[in-house]
Amino acid sequence: MAVEAAPQSRGASIEIEHLDKYFGAVRAVDDVSLSIAAGEFIALLGPSGSGKSTILMSLAGFERPTGGRILIDGQDCTYLPPYKRNIGMVFQHYTLFPHLSVMDNVAFPLKMRGISKAERRRQAEAALETVRLAGYGQRMPKQLSGGQQQRVALARAIVYRPRVLLMDEPLSALDKNLREEMQLEIKRLHSELGLTVVFVTHDQSEALTMADRIAILKSGRLQQVSPARELYERPSNLFTASFIGEMNMLPAEWDGRTASLPGGGVMEVGAKSMIDPVGPGKSVLAIRPERLSIAAPDSAGSWPATVCDVIYAGAGTLVIAEMPGGTEVRVRLPSNAVGSLSRGEAIGLTCPPDAALLYSAEQAT
């Protein structure tokens, strides 16, 4: 019998309000506000030093915020010590207690809650079963593989059925295959148990595949909070656009109706292609490499370019081209759609109108 998951959502909602955290003069978290719905799986994604771990540690109670509030299910717990928060947490390096057996590790939170020995045993066994480690209870952590240790850590975090599960780059110590397996495992646990998950990672594909919504952070500031698809297709600013996936950033002159590229290319841009209104002037046209196609040079509506390199990679082929003025453009095509292209060849680039996004160039700095 696994941990009995209540059918209805058991997760707690989390409100982060104007969170600030200074380390000396360094502002690690800068006015971050974020609402996380009950039962939601949210990933905090960003480069190192972006403040994602500090936010997580503030949620866990290991960091005391300099300003702002943290509400869990409406209860203010900004300054509550960690052991009073009833939050489950999985750490980067498993952090299993080395001197305790797997069973004692998993039962530890129950022991802290004064649950009787027999009941502790029963619930710990159920939790181990949930992470598919039934029968491993008598082993010591050292006798387990990395993936198994992380499952034990997971079992320990969920054994007392917390309503929030925090995960601090929990898969970064695992190799690629194990990581993918654990990603699915964590997703399954999330939907089975219905708890709210806050997951810190610096691996964007991990964030995109696992999370309901992804919060992008840069230098302590929240950049965007969106589901994966929106994040990829409509990044709200230039940082997110370049941080997630591959993106061509073409400098353009925007007159309110059309964007002119160096070398004479012109594109009409509708309101749908702007996340925020962009005033006339210097701007950036952002286009995913897979949305561009190659046409004959000088064909109608195409932009002139010269092939610099053709890189064949099985199913897909990457064409690197240069526009007049030196802007590099990457085009990803299915390999069977690429004819014979040679270095130095003149080509035309075409792009459907809905594939381009226009940003003000001032943002770039």
């Binding site: 960091e63 010590p81 009073k84």
Partner: protein, 289 residues
């Protein structure tokens, strides 16, 4: 802040109050039973019989006491050099040894640590006595026709002190040397350095922090050594520790004994401060870095 939050005032680190609380017994002990007694003893040397520097004048100007100071310095330097000469090759052999040989060498070097200072001093008394093993040996090989007076000499003190203090020299040097990967020698050889040159250019500089640390530790300990000079030395050739003991227990000249303690303590503190950069305790125990 709630009382429960006392230990986690700033998240994962201990709060200032928590740290003070945890360190309080240590600081109380050091203040109560170390700093206060030492300072109040030394203050006697300045204040009795009246506020004065006479006690210190006596230490340095009376030729008898000045000679004790010089002798103490000389013996300490001699013991340090002798320890260094005996220890360095042993430390080198320890750093190079692998397997059972490494265990054997380490056991030999550590054994003195675990045997009583008094027992070792007694052993030297037996070895050096008139009909002791060393005299027997010297007579047997015909170096001398009648037993030499070995016990109650400076030589006896130097040898026995070296024996007692040597492990404090071996460990820091070994600690420094064992960080040398075996490739160093080969790398030096490839670069064209002969074995002596490689030793001089590579091994010695790496061993230097250990050599300096060990030398200071042995030197400082030798300066204030009491047991060995008291049991194996001649009463006519006192060291500062035996002089302090005599002044305090037999002559009962407290202010003067206090002045001697003051000279010894201040000198030792000055040397420690001067070498504080290289003199690190964890190194003394043969630890890394």
């Amino acid at each position: 802040m709630s009382a429960a939050g006392f230990f986690e005032a700033d998240g994962r680190r201990l709060s200032r109050g928590g740290i003070m609380l945890l360190m309080a017994p240590f600081f109380a002990l050091i203040l109560f039973a170390f700093l206060y007694p030492l300072l109040s003893l030394i203050s006697i040397s300045f204040l009795e019989p009246a506020p004065t520097l006479d006690n210190y004048q006596r230490v340095f100007e009376n030729p008898v006491y000045a000679r004790v100071l010089m002798r103490t310095l000389r013996i300490a330097v001699l013991v340090t050099l002798l320890s260094l000469a005996l220890s360095f090759p042993v430390a080198l052999a320890m750093a190079h040894a692998r397997g059972p040989k490494a265990v054997f060498l380490a056991a030999c070097v550590l054994l003195p640590f675990w045997s009583s200072v008094l027992v070792r001093t007694a052993a030297w008394a037996v070895l050096l006595q008139r009909n002791g093993l060393i005299n027997q040996g010297l007579q047997a090989i015909g170096l001398t026709s009648e037993p030499l007076r070995l016990l109650y000499t400076q030589g006896a003190v130097v040898i026995a002190m070296t024996h007692v203090l040597m492990p404090f020299m071996v460990l820091p040097i070994y600690g420094a040397l064992r960080n040398i990967p075996p490739d160093y020698g080969r790398a030096a050889a490839i670069c064209g350095a002969g074995p002596l040159r490689a030793f001089w250019e590579v091994t010695l500089p790496i061993a230097m922090p250990g050599v300096i640390g060990g030398s200071i530790l042995v030197f400082l300990t030798a300066l204030g050594f009491f047991i060995t000079p008291a049991l194996l030395g001649s009463p006519q050739e006192m060291m500062i520790a035996t002089l302090i003991s005599q002044q305090m227990r037999e002559i009962l000249d407290w202010p003067f004994a206090a002045a001697l303690v003051g000279v010894l303590t201040l000198f030792v503190t000055a040397v420690t401060l001067a070498f504080s950069r290289v003199f690190r305790f964890d190194r003394m125990m043969g630890g890394h870095t």
